[in-house]
């Protein structure tokens, strides 16, 4: 029988559940993710750094652990909360179960609580901090409420630059790693790109020196406004007119570099069913999303950029196209994994931009 474990929210609510994976005490921001599949991609998504994730789908781990589906080598979230985890997974690619994987990664897991009740609390009150622990003695609430996700990007970004390519690559892409999902690299390589992944603190000059055909800004964790140096770097890069494509945090950072504001959403968008409307065509796409902050639509200066994608549910900003350079960014995840691939054509758009730009190798 598993040991008892508790989730204590900063508002004082306690959930008694059971422990799986690693044991221990951990404090983090509690967020919920609504995807019904894709738990491996969620677990290995660096954007969850500093957070504990509760899955709304009650049966997690059904198809076991499949390493080739990971979005990074390790788990970067602080803890994982599910209703039930699957002891005996079934899939032809499965190697092991969730419990063993969390143990290997030393990640604290909690299960057997009313996850829907927890999600409803977060929805009504907004994102809040929580602590998972094995004992209810000596709980220091100030520690829980005082927690803040910090230095998120520097914690998850690559420490050194590396290059991924296949033979006959046509375009050189500089990919700034703010906590990237590996599928961004795969989508680019698949389309004939030589991708150089760069640490978050690579300077604009160093990037320009690489004379890339395009610059890709990755997703990543944390409060975008915290990344002052990156924003400065992006200001310089926008001057170059090199084609640029940003996803999620990359989208937010570029918006900040162009004078926009970002703010925290009440409980964010985390799931694989978010509808997004392309304002230029009227088409709606179902997208994969994972973000707690968003660009404020009314902060976009119309003389330099247009809002081109909005969320159908809450009208928040989902994408920007810039006017004076071949640059566009989206809040959602066109690289999917997990989630729908409906917007993977945006990578084709980026490739096309590099094709018409002068720097392209032909």
């Amino acid at each position: 029988m598993s040991d008892k474990a508790y989730l204590i929210l900063e508002n004082g609510k306690v959930f008694e559940g059971k422990s799986f994976g690693a044991k221990g005490t951990v404090i983090a921001e509690v967020v919920f993710a609504t995807g019904m599949t894709g738990y491996l991609e969620t677990l290995t998504d660096k954007s969850y750094y500093g957070q504990m994730v509760v899955q709304t789908f009650p049966l997690i781990g059904n198809y076991g652990i499949i390493r080739s589906d990971f979005e990074s080598k390790n788990i970067h979230m602080s803890a994982y909360i599910v209703n039930q985890w699957c002891e005996e997974p079934s899939n032809f690619r499965s190697g092991g179960n969730l419990d063993a994987f969390l143990m290997e990664q030393q990640i604290v897991g909690l299960y057997d609580i009313d996850t829907r009740a927890l999600v409803r609390i977060i929805r009504e009150n907004g994102v809040m901090n929580g602590m998972i622990t094995n004992s209810l003695n000596d709980i220091d609430f100030s520690k829980i409420s005082g927690y803040k996700v910090q230095n998120a990007v520097s914690s998850v970004s690559a420490k050194e630059a590396y290059t991924v390519k296949e033979d006959n690559a046509k375009y050189k892409v500089a990919l700034m790693d703010f906590g990237l999902k590996d599928n961004i690299v795969r989508e680019l390589v698949k389309r004939g790109c030589e991708v150089t992944v760069l640490p978050y603190n690579t300077s604009a000059d160093e990037i320009i020196k690489l004379s890339p055909d395009g610059i890709m800004l990755s997703n990543g964790p944390g409060d975008p406004a915290e990344n002052v140096e990156i924003i400065e770097c992006l200001k310089k890069l926008t001057q170059t007119k090199i084609p640029m494509f940003g996803i999620c945090l990359g989208h937010q950072l570029l918006a900040l570099a162009n004078g926009c504001k970002t703010s925290k959403l009440k409980y964010g968008h985390r799931g694989a069913n978010q509808p997004v409307k392309d304002l230029t065509t009227g088409r709606v796409y179902i997208t994969s999303q994972n973000h707690g902050y968003a660009v404020e639509s009314n902060s976009i200066d119309e003389s330099i950029a247009d809002e081109v994608f909005v969320n159908v549910n809450d009208s928040t900003c989902e994408g920007i196209t810039y006017k004076n350079a071949p640059v566009f960014t989206v809040q959602f995840h066109p690289e999917a994994c997990g989630g729908p691939k409906d917007t993977s054509f945006l990578f084709d758009r980026f490739i096309k931009m590099m094709g018409v730009s002068d720097n392209a190798v032909r």
């Binding site: 609504t34 032809f92 009313d114 069913n273 509808p275 088409r283 409906d342």
Partner: protein, 736 residues
């Protein structure tokens, strides 16, 4: 694109009489469609030959023709009514075929009538076997090697080329009727001949058998500008080879990793785009369990049994949205009635699983062949919702009204492990219970998977139930009790297995079906129960709504799964009961577990509990709802059977009393009553054993009619001509 203003008068074609493969779900879809049209102020002309439906109610359409669904009749009505449009896709295969005939003959064009929903080209691309194959190949979607033939010789030639076994599917037929699996030339000859005969265009498809692959379905919706979403994915418990109408189905898929899920989702979206469907569509796939290889099995460019199930499983009203699309709206313009805040252009996400369990009529036909295959045999179905597969399957089984409240089928108890192992090789309506018995007899999940190809995920979950029952039989503790409730056991079942009185209690936590896993606040009064303890944060979401209710409350019991003798007419009467009570100022609560019905639409009653109609499940709801009374008289035999239990628990039964009902249903008491009133009747006795039956038969002399108490529609009734007949009959009856 907003409403097409040129549409003023629409003709809607219903699906006609209930047949296997086309049942109440089309009344549900049709009713939703009519309401959606009414909202827009469009004049509606309805043609349907089935009067036992909500859709043919006076209030539903402006003109209703209860006429045969034939080409000449429909043409005559069109000439008289002069509609400007006709809606295909909501009247099942019958409605779709009629619309296609009207379009192809040029009748619609010559009368200036627009065909809304699926166009003739779309219908052809999906339904004509050869055009379907060509369309799939043109967009790179794999199909199963197959050939369209019009004679038996052609079938032989192709089968020789691809090898046996092969599957025969006649073109333009319903529920796979006339088709089957042929293992050799002899069988193929027989099946092909029947298939060619029943196909209206005398055409069959012969295809390679991929029996054993996973069967996965996606419900997709697309609008006129090309926005497309998937409403729901479903995975069949039984692998390919058994008609999905006869299969246990779980929503969403559970054994697919995101990579496989997205591969099939993308395929479904590409298919609906290529077919140009505007409205709902069902895509069926076969997925190899050991690789990413898959094949498109079939596409239905219309609402179907699966879409009714998907609607109830997710809360997303497919028929309504499909209708709005047909009259011009795009997905991002249609509000999501569940959240009130979001739009139809989103994909529902579930925080539970829904399980469908078919209802077969084999109990009516004691001697019928119980084998299942590519031709659908189920007459109805139940659905259950829970936060685990174990609880969902337990709820489904006890709600299916097959005299079971667990997966233990008594007639299998005395069979040896080898006998059970042999039974695993044939697929019958009792397959689930045979598998359960096999697990109890320590046949491994791996071996069962080898024989049945049922995914191990399901087998391990069933094994959890077996293990639990073993532990429970050793004694009850509070922990074990809570575990049992979370796995879906009723108190009565727990007591029977452990042989102890249950002294613990745990109140169910009712959860809302809200299409969005709690991401948005929803007002849908649509609930199911789970069990979460207080300390684990357990929250009962129904309580808030009950607290706010101002009016006296009445519970109406639905009629459960459709079967012979208890069909859609009971849904019709329960829905009318609900409406009348609402008009009289009551707050009405409905309990039912049939996904094909209007009564389980979340906006029919004030609150819907999608739960099995069993004593414990119903009493749990009564405990929190505290109604002034409960109405059983519109729920058919299903509700009647609960009367006694409800009366014993001091629930006020509105209408005929429990005692009067018992007097009419219990053969012995009914006999006494007739005796008292001096009414003549055939001589008869109530018997409990074979010996008593033989005795009674000798007293009244052969032939004798044998019929059980509390049944309807002649369930299990036979005429016995000899002692042997009686012995055989009693053996079957006593074992069920």
């Amino acid at each position: 694109m907003p409403l097409d203003k040129s549409i003023k008068k629409i003709m809607v074609i219903g699906s006609g009489p209930i047949v296997i493969g086309q049942a109440a779900e089309f009344d549900y879809a049709g009713t939703q469609a009519l309401r959606a049209l009414k909202e827009e102020g469009i004049e509606i002309v309805l043609v349907n030959s089935n009067p036992a439906t909500i859709m043919t109610d006076k209030a539903m359409a402006d003109k209703i023709y209860i006429e045969p669904l034939t080409l000449t009749t429909v043409e005559r009505i069109i000439e008289k009514e002069k509609p400007d449009s006709i809606l295909s896709g909501l009247g099942g295969q019958t409605g779709l075929n009629l619309c296609m005939q009207l379009a192809k003959s040029g009748f619609l064009d010559s009368h200036g009538i627009k065909l809304l929903g699926a166009s003739p080209e779309t219908i052809d691309k999906a339904e004509d076997r050869q055009m379907f194959k060509d369309t799939m190949e043109s967009i790179g979607q794999p199909v199963i090697p197959s050939d369209v033939v019009c004679d038996v010789e052609g079938a032989f030639a192709f089968a020789d080329e691809i090898g046996y076994p092969v599957i025969v599917r006649p073109a333009f037929t319903l529920g796979g009727s006339g088709g089957g699996i042929a293992n050799n030339k002899d069988e193929l000859g027989e099946i092909a001949e029947t298939g060619i005969a029943v196909s209206p265009i005398h055409q069959i498809l012969v295809e390679k058998s991929i029996a054993g692959w996973k069967e996965i379905e996606f419900e997709v919706i697309r609008d006129s500008v090309g926005n497309a979403i998937t409403v729901c994915s479903m995975e069949n418990f039984d692998p390919v080879g058994i008609h999905t109408g006869d299969s246990i189905v779980i929503a969403p898929t559970v054994t697919l990793a995101d990579k496989e899920y997205q591969m099939l989702r993308t395929a479904a979206l590409n298919i609906i785009e290529a077919l140009g469907v505007e409205g709902g569509c069902n895509c069926q796939f076969a997925l190899c369990p050991d690789s990413f290889e898959y094949a498109v099995i079939e596409v239905n460019p219309r609402v179907s049994r699966s879409s009714a199930l998907a609607s109830k499983a997710t809360g997303y009203p497919i028929a309504k949205v499909a209708t709005k699309i047909a009259i011009g709206y795009t997905l991002d313009e249609i509000p999501n009635a569940v959240t009130g805040k979001t739009f139809a252009a989103f994909e529902p996400t579930l925080d539970y699983v829904a399980v469908k369990f078919p209802k077969w009529a084999f109990d009516k036909f004691v001697y019928a062949k119980r084998d299942l295959g590519t031709q659908m045999k189920a007459t109805g179905e139940v659905m259950s919702i829970a936060d685990s597969f174990e609880m969902a399957i337990m709820k489904a089984v006890r709600g299916a009204e097959i005299s079971l409240d667990t997966l233990n089928l008594p007639k299998l108890f005395n069979l040896s492990a080898d006998e059970i192992r042999n039974m695993l090789h044939t697929t019958t309506d009792e397959r689930l219970f045979v598998v359960f018995e096999a697990l109890k007899k320590d046949i491994t999940c791996e071996e069962i998977n080898e024989i049945t190809k049922i995914d191990k995920w399901f087998l391990y979950k069933l094994k959890n139930l077996v293990n639990y029952e073993k532990k429970l039989s050793e004694g009850l503790t509070e922990d074990i009790y809570i575990q049992g409730k979370r796995l879906g056991y009723t108190d009565k079942a727990i007591e029977r297995i452990c042989g102890e009185k249950v002294t613990y209690s745990l109140a169910p936590t009712y959860k809302m079906v809200d299409t969005c896993a709690g991401e948005f606040s929803a007002q849908t009064p649509y609930f199911y129960h789970t069990f979460n303890t207080q300390i684990s944060g357990g929250e009962n979401e129904a309580l808030k709504l009950i607290e706010h209710s101002q009016k006296p409350r009445v519970v109406v019991l639905g009629s459960g799964p459709i079967r012979i003798g208890q069909g859609i007419e009971f849904d019709y009467s329960s829905v009318h009961c609900v409406w009348t009570l609402k008009k009289l100022g009551y707050e009405v609560i409905i309990i039912n577990n049939n996904p094909e019905t209007v009564s389980t639409d979340f906006d029919t009653a004030d609150r819907l509990y999608f739960e099995p109609l069993t004593p414990e499940d119903v009493m749990n709801i009564i405990k929190i709802e505290k109604p002034v009374g409960i109405i059983v008289s519109f729920g058919g035999g299903t509700a009647i059977k609960l009367t006694k239990h409800l009366a014993e628990n001091n629930v006020n039964i509105i209408g005929t009393s429990a005692d009067s009902i018992d007097m009419a249903e219990d053969r012995e008491r009914f006999d006494e009553l007739l005796e008292q009133l001096h009414i003549n009747r055939p001589k008869g006795f109530t018997v409990m054993t074979t010996e008593e039956a033989l005795d009674a038969a000798h007293k009244v002399s052969y032939p004798v009619l044998m019929r059980p108490s509390y049944v309807l529609g002649g369930q299990n009734m036979i005429i016995a001509f000899s002692d042997d007949d009686i012995k055989e009959y009693m053996e079957i009856i006593l074992s069920t």
